[in-house]
């Protein structure tokens, strides 16, 4: 047993040190984070997210979006993220301080989504993308998420968020395709992704 005691202490010590460095340290540091208050304008950033966005984050998780889409922007000398227009500055810890679900991701089969809510603000664009990705990006390998939509009979007026489709994909006359609650939530989440406020620790790089 004595030999196992040494073994135990050795592994415990090494792994414990890594636990302190990569679990305890970031937990304590990032828990104590404060939003930035601009000394000139008094604006506070970041701000929390609305409730629907929070629900949408869960839909984002459940459907594995993170396996193709990342959510962090690297500095100019570390990658072409800023040149691609995925953000004006690198992202830092404070950008995520209010997020209950942080999806940094490490695959970019699709575009980075750190600031997708800055690039696209129209829910219709997202609905079309989710319903039929290849109608927006012809060569895309993104799956289409038709199960986030349902076809229903138009009662009176056409619903405000009904999909504007034409061609063979359009529903029959008298019918419309509308997003489900989950579909609305994930689009609200995507539109909420805006990490474009100024932070002193991440200045925008010069052109």
């Amino acid at each position: 047993m004595n030999k196992f005691a040494h073994l135990f202490l050795g592994v415990f010590g090494l792994f414990g040190a890594s636990w302190l460095a990569f679990v305890a340290y970031p937990y304590i540091t990032f828990a104590g984070m404060q939003p930035n208050k601009d000394s000139n304008t008094g604006a506070v950033a970041p701000q929390g997210n609305p409730g629907t966005a929070e629900q949408g984050a869960r839909v984002f998780a459940a459907n594995g979006c993170v396996y193709c889409h990342s959510q962090f922007v690297r500095d100019k000398n570390e990658g072409a993220d800023i040149d691609r227009g995925w953000g004006k500055r690198r992202t830092v810890a404070r950008d995520y301080m209010f997020d209950h679900y942080v999806f940094l991701g490490n695959s970019r089969l699709g575009a980075d989504l750190t600031n997708v809510g800055v690039r696209q603000t129209d829910p219709q664009w997202f609905y079309r993308l989710l319903y039929d990705p290849r109608s927006v990006h012809p060569g895309s390998v993104m799956p289409s998420f038709r199960y986030l939509f349902r076809t229903q009979k138009i009662s009176g007026q056409t619903s405000a968020d009904a999909l504007k489709l034409d061609g063979p994909g359009a529903p029959g006359s008298g019918y419309e395709i509308v997003p489900t609650q989950e579909g609305k939530a994930i689009v609200a989440y995507l539109i909420s992704l805006k990490r474009n406020f100024a932070l002193p620790e991440a200045p925008e790089p010069a052109e």
């Binding site: 050795g10 984070m33 990006h137 060569g139």
Partner: protein
């Protein structure tokens, strides 16, 4: 049938009383080990079905319109189902099965009650099943290899608790004497997995936890730390424990250098524990966290080379025979893949070279090199080695296993080269803002198609493996004449031991 080379690597032994003793240990753990092995093979098949489906969806996204109406078969659920079935279903379950056998064998305890590991195996499998179904049902939490929602993770923890109690009792009652390198690795694996899995699930996964979810980007740090622990300090030590047992055993040689094994062990634990954050190069973390990940990934070449040199020298010093057996080939090739993995992980984490592989299919290829090339090959070898011995049978229809070896190798090589070349093209594209994302997608199309071909070959190889296992289990080719039978238990172990 051809000569049963697999089982004839060990010469008959004269120490019959000791042999009976050890056989008794083997039989006492037969039911639990079989429970783990059979379910592991089942999950391997499940995972390769999902892998094939995920790959097909990726290369023909538009043609499977039926799938776009079925939420449980969308790529974003099938892909994690594949990964989790592979890691928790196949590699962990199989690895635990081998660990039961190795611990009983090496600790040489008289501990015979084996219902605890059986209970563990059953609970573990229910946990994996619940987890996979939850992922398909939309319960995943979007963190790679932590996708299982808490109820499933809790079942896994419970199963692991049973397993851990059993292991501690076995080690406690161990005959005094030398501790082999395999035992060191298994012991470290058990400790690190229990620790990291509990931590990660409480901080990231437990609903309504007073201390979770972890604040902001600490989620990313904890997740990266967990993933690396899962790979480097759970799966890798289990596989290395097998290699340190089977390679000297097949060659009838003691391991070349004990000191080198010692260096390899401690240096690997020290490096792997700190190297997770390298995946977040340029990420929203203090720079030292990522730098530490990169430095330890490079430093890990020391243990990787120590392990490689040790196996190489052991193999070289062996006069022969055994070196050509199928089991040895699986395990030795798996061990070589560990070396390749070490070099690839170091290259991909360096800031200069890593920026072209970060976010690309190269990383997926690197993970497959680890999960399939290294861990799975060794586990295949271990199962081919142990099953006939546990059941006191010869391996029959060796051609099936031989076919499995070559088919798996071809499929894996195709997959790795495809993902690496395609990933590099993707990486150079991503680094050039003038190349649009759509253009990169077009460039990747043929590689995604070849990925599906490779997935199909690997699927076929896995089915062949299941058939080979089924043949050993179901065809009662009992060895009639015990005197010229291959050894069913392994004695005269030339293991590396602590003096």
């Amino acid at each position: 049938m051809s000569q049963p080379a697999i089982s004839e690597t060990i010469p008959p032994d004269n120490l019959s009383s000791e042999r009976d003793d050890r056989e008794a240990i083997g039989y006492a753990v037969r039911v639990p080990v079989l429970t783990f092995f059979v379910s592991a093979v089942f999950w391997l098949l499940v995972s390769s079905c999902f892998g094939l489906l995920a790959s097909t969806e990726c290369h023909r996204p538009g043609s499977l319109t039926i799938l776009s109406n079925l939420p449980w078969l969308t790529f974003g659920r099938v892909f994690p189902a594949f990964q989790n079935a592979l890691v928790y279903g196949w590699l962990s379950t199989g690895g635990m099965g081998v660990a039961i056998w190795l611990l009983s064998r090496l600790c040489n305890t008289a501990y015979r009650t084996s219902y605890l590991p059986v209970l563990s195996g059953v609970t573990w499998n229910i946990g994996v099943g619940v987890g996979i179904l939850s992922i398909l049902g939309g319960g995943a939490n979007g963190r790679a290899l932590l996708d299982f929602p808490f109820p499933a993770a809790f079942l896994l923890l419970l199963a692991f608790l049973f397993f851990g109690i059993w292991a501690v009792v076995v080690i406690w009652n161990r005959e005094s004497g030398s501790v082999s390198v395999s035992e060191w690795y298994i012991f470290a694996a058990l400790l690190c997995f229990a620790w990291s899995f509990t931590t990660a699930n409480i901080l990231l996964n437990l609903p309504l936890s007073p201390i979770g979810p972890a604040p902001g980007v600490s989620q990313g740090a904890i997740h990266a730390w967990y993933e690396k622990s899962l790979f480097g300090l759970w799966l890798a030590p289990l596989a290395l424990a097998v290699a340190y047992y089977i390679i000297p055993k097949s060659l009838e040689k003691p391991i070349y250098s004990y000191k080198l094994a010692l260096l390899g062990f401690w240096a690997w634990i020290g490096c792997a524990a700190f190297s997770g954050m390298a995946v977040f190069n340029g990420g929203p973390f203090p720079v030292w966290m990522v730098t530490m990940g990169i430095v330890t990934n490079v430093l890990a070449l020391v243990p990787v080379l120590a392990v490689a040199a040790n196996f190489h020298m052991t193999t070289r010093s062996a006069a022969e025979p055994g070196g050509s057996s199928l089991v040895f080939r699986f395990v030795a090739l798996g061990a070589m893949m560990f070396t390749f993995y070490g070099f690839e992980a170091a290259t991909n984490s360096l800031r200069t070279t890593g920026q072209f592989t970060q976010f690309t299919l190269v990383i997926l290829g690197q993970n497959h090199l680890f999960l399939y090339g290294f861990c799975s090959l060794i586990l295949f070898g271990a199962i081919y080695y142990l099953l006939p011995r546990l059941l006191d049978r010869r391996i029959i229809f060796e051609g099936v296993a031989e076919f499995h070896f070559w088919l798996g190798l071809v499929g894996f090589a195709l997959l790795w080269f495809d993902l690496t070349i395609g990933g590099l093209i993707q990486g150079f594209g991503l680094q050039d803002a003038k190349v649009s994302m759509d253009a990169i997608g077009d460039l990747l199309k043929p590689f995604l198609m070849i990925q599906s071909v490779a997935a199909l070959i690997i699927f076929a190889a896995n089915v062949t493996f299941a058939i080979a296992v089924g043949l050993i289990l179901l065809v009662p080719a009992r060895v009639r004449n015990r005197s010229d039978a291959p050894e069913t238990s392994m004695e005269r172990t030339p293991e590396v031991t602590v003096a």
